[in-house]
C-alpha cells in the first residue's frame, strides 16, 4: 500500500518535471499524446472482463474495453498524424 503511494508520489514528480519546460508549439500534440496514454485503462478493462462472473459485470467490462480501445487507438493515431506534419518541415 505504502509502496503504491510512493510510486504515486514519484510519478507525480516525473510527470511535472518532464512536462514543465515544453514550448507552446507542442501543447496540442502533447495533450493528445497524454490522452492516448491514459487509454491504458484498457489493461484494467481486459482484466476485469476476463474475470467477470455476472452478466452485468461482463457487459460493463466489454463496454469499458470498447471505449478504452477507442481512446488508445484514436489517441495514438491522431497524435502521430499531427506530428507527421511537423516533421516534414524540420532540418
Amino acid at each position: 500500500m505504502i509502496d503504491l503511494l510512493t510510486i504515486f508520489v514519484l510519478a507525480v514528480f516525473v510527470g511535472f518535471e518532464v512536462v514543465s519546460k515544453v514550448s507552446t508549439i507542442l501543447h496540442t500534440p502533447l495533450m493528445s499524446g497524454a490522452n492516448a496514454i491514459h487509454g491504458v485503462i484498457l489493461v484494467g478493462a481486459i482484466l476485469i472482463t476476463g474475470n467477470a462472473e455476472s452478466a452485468l459485470e461482463l457487459v460493463l467490462g466489454l463496454l469499458a474495453v470498447f471505449l478504452a480501445t477507442v481512446n488508445v487507438v484514436g489517441g495514438f493515431v491522431v497524435t502521430d498524424r499531427m506530428l507527421e506534419m511537423f516533421k516534414g518541415h524540420k532540418r
Binding site: V19, H27, T28, P29, L30, A34, V40, L42, I48, L58
Partner: protein, 452 residues
C-alpha cells in the same frame, strides 16, 4: 513476475513518450514508443488476464479499432480539439466502468479500496460528461458562448455537495446503488463544470479533464492493485495539470478566471464603435499594398482556423515570395482553438517550419515591417492588452502590429474577438479592413495579386 516486468517496461515507455513529446525533435518517436508500450501491455493483459470471455473481449477491441482508427484518420486538423475531447471522455467512462464492475464483483473489501473506487467512478464520470459537453461546444452542436444557468452557481455547489456526501457514504457502507447514484452525480457535475466555460477557453477545460481522466485511471490502479495503471494515470494527471497551467499562463490569465470567469466577470459589452471611423479597403487596394511591400508579417488567428483558410494563406505567402516580398508568420501561442493549434494547421498546409515565428522573433523588428496582415485574429494583436491596465486581457503578450507601417485586418464584421474586448487598432489610421470570410478574401486577394 514476468507480467509485472512487462508492465514496468510499458510504464517506462510512457515516461519516455512524454519526454519525447516535449521536444520537437523526438516528438514523433516518443509517440511511437508510447504506442509500443501500450501494445505490449495490452497483449500481456490479454494473454495473462483474459481467463474467460477472451473472444468477446477481442470483438470489443476490434469494434474499438474499427471506430477509433477511421475517426482519427479522417478528422480535420481544425477539429482536433473536439476529437481529443471525445477520446478523453471515453477514457474517463472506461475508468468509471472498470471501477464499477470491480466493485460489483468484490464490494466488501477495505475502506482504502472503496475510497479509490469512489474516486475513480466520480472523476471518471465528471471527465466523461464534461468532455461530451466540450465536444458539443466545439463542434458547434450547441452554443460556444458561456452558458450560465439560472442560479447556476447554487446548483453546481449543490451537486458537488451531494457528490461528496455520496462518496463518503459509499466509502463507509459499500452499496452498489449509491455508487450508481454517485456516477450520475458525477455526470451532472461534469456538465455543470463545462457549461459556463466559453468557446476559446474550452481547450483549457479539455486539458484539465484530460488530467482528471489520468487521475481516475491512477485511482483505478489502486482498485485493481495494478502498478502500470497507477504510474501511467499519475503521469497523465501530473503532466496534464502542468500543461493546463502552462496554457493559462500563455493566455496571461489565472486558471480560476478561465474556468469560473463566466460566473464572476461583469458581462462584457463591446464598446459600440460605429461612431468612430474605420477605413475599409477593396481587394485591389490590399493587393497593391502587399504586392509592393518589402516585408510582410502574417498573423493568423481563430478566424483562419474557422474559415479553414490555411491553404489559401500559404498560397498567398508563396505568391508574395515569388514577387520578392519577405514574409513570415507570427504565431501567437494561444491563437486558434487550442494552444499550438496554428502550428499544426500551418504545418498541415505545408508551411515550412522555419517561417513560423514566435512573439519574441517578430516584435523586436516590427517597426521595419511594411504590412502586418491579420487574418481572422483579433485579441492577439489588440494593443489594449499591452497599454490599458483596465482591459480584461491586459497582460497577455501580443504581436505589436500597431507599430508596423501598415495593418490589414481580414474579418467578417466589426465584432470583437473571443475576449469580447473592442480593439482600437481597427480604428487606427494605419489600418485597412477587408471584410469577408477569410478564405474568400484570401482567394480574391490571390487573384488580384496575379493581375498586378
Amino acid at each position: 513476475m514476468t507480467v509485472q516486468l512487462v508492465y514496468l517496461v510499458a510504464a517506462l515507455c510512457f515516461i519516455l513518450a512524454l519526454k519525447g513529446l516535449s521536444t520537437p525533435r523526438y516528438a514523433r518517436a516518443g509517440n511511437l514508443i508510447g504506442a509500443f508500450g501500450m501494445a505490449i501491455a495490452v497483449v500481456t493483459a490479454y494473454v495473462h488476464g483474459a481467463v474467460h470471455n477472451g473472444l468477446l473481449i477481442l470483438v470489443a477491441m476490434a469494434l474499438g479499432v474499427v471506430v477509433g482508427i477511421p475517426a482519427a484518420r479522417s478528422v480535420k486538423m481544425t477539429a482536433i480539439p473536439q476529437m481529443v475531447a471525445l477520446f478523453n471522455g471515453v477514457g474517463g467512462a472506461a475508468a468509471a466502468l472498470v471501477a464499477l464492475a470491480e466493485f460489483l464483483a468484490v464490494p466488501t473489501s477495505s475502506v482504502l479500496f472503496r475510497v479509490a473506487t469512489v474516486l475513480t467512478v466520480l472523476i471518471g464520470s465528471v471527465s466523461f460528461s464534461g468532455s461530451v459537453v466540450t465536444f458539443l461546444k466545439l463542434q458547434e452542436l450547441m452554443t460556444s458562448r458561456p452558458v450560465v444557468l439560472p442560479a447556476g452557481q447554487v446548483v453546481s455547489v449543490g451537486v458537488a455537495v451531494v457528490s461528496v456526501v455520496l462518496a463518503v457514504a459509499v466509502s463507509v457502507f459499500p452499496s452498489g446503488f449509491l455508487l450508481v447514484l454517485l456516477a450520475l452525480a458525477g455526470l451532472a457535475l461534469g456538465v455543470l463544470f463545462v457549461l459556463p466555460v466559453g468557446g476559446a477557453d474550452v481547450p483549457i477545460a479539455i486539458s484539465l479533464l484530460n488530467a482528471f481522466t489520468g487521475l481516475a485511471v491512477a485511482a483505478s490502479g489502486y482498485v485493481l492493485a495494478n502498478t502500470l495503471l497507477i504510474v501511467a494515470g499519475t503521469l497523465v494527471g501530473a503532466s496534464g495539470t502542468i500543461l493546463t497551467r502552462l496554457m493559462a499562463q500563455a493566455m496571461g490569465r489565472p486558471l480560476t478566471n478561465i474556468l469560473f470567469g463566466a460566473f464572476t466577470a461583469p458581462a462584457l459589452v463591446a464598446v459600440a464603435g460605429e461612431q468612430r471611423t474605420v477605413r475599409s479597403g477593396t481587394v485591389e487596394d490590399v493587393a497593391i499594398l502587399l504586392g509592393y511591400a518589402h516585408s510582410v508579417v502574417v498573423v493568423p488567428g481563430y478566424g483562419l482556423a474557422v474559415a479553414q483558410a490555411q491553404h489559401a494563406a500559404r498560397e498567398l505567402v508563396h505568391l508574395l515570395e515569388t514577387r520578392g516580398v519577405s514574409v513570415s508568420y507570427g504565431i501567437h501561442p494561444v491563437a486558434g482553438r487550442m494552444p499550438g493549434h496554428m502550428n499544426v494547421l500551418l504545418a498541415e498546409a505545408d508551411v515550412p517550419y522555419e517561417q513560423l515565428k514566435e512573439l519574441d522573433d517578430i516584435n523586436p523588428g516590427i517597426t521595419s515591417v511594411d504590412v502586418a496582415l491579420v487574418v481572422g485574429a483579433n485579441d492577439v494583436v489588440n494593443p489594449g492588452a499591452r497599454d490599458e491596465p483596465s482591459s480584461p486581457i491586459y497582460g497577455m503578450p501580443i504581436f505589436d502590429v500597431d507599430r508596423a507601417r501598415a495593418v490589414v485586418f481580414m474579418k467578417r464584421s466589426m465584432r470583437p474577438g473571443f475576449a469580447g474586448v473592442d480593439n482600437t487598432l481597427l480604428y487606427n489610421d494605419k489600418t485597412t479592413l477587408l471584410f469577408g470570410d477569410a478564405k474568400d478574401s484570401l482567394t480574391k486577394l490571390l487573384a488580384a495579386l496575379k493581375q498586378l
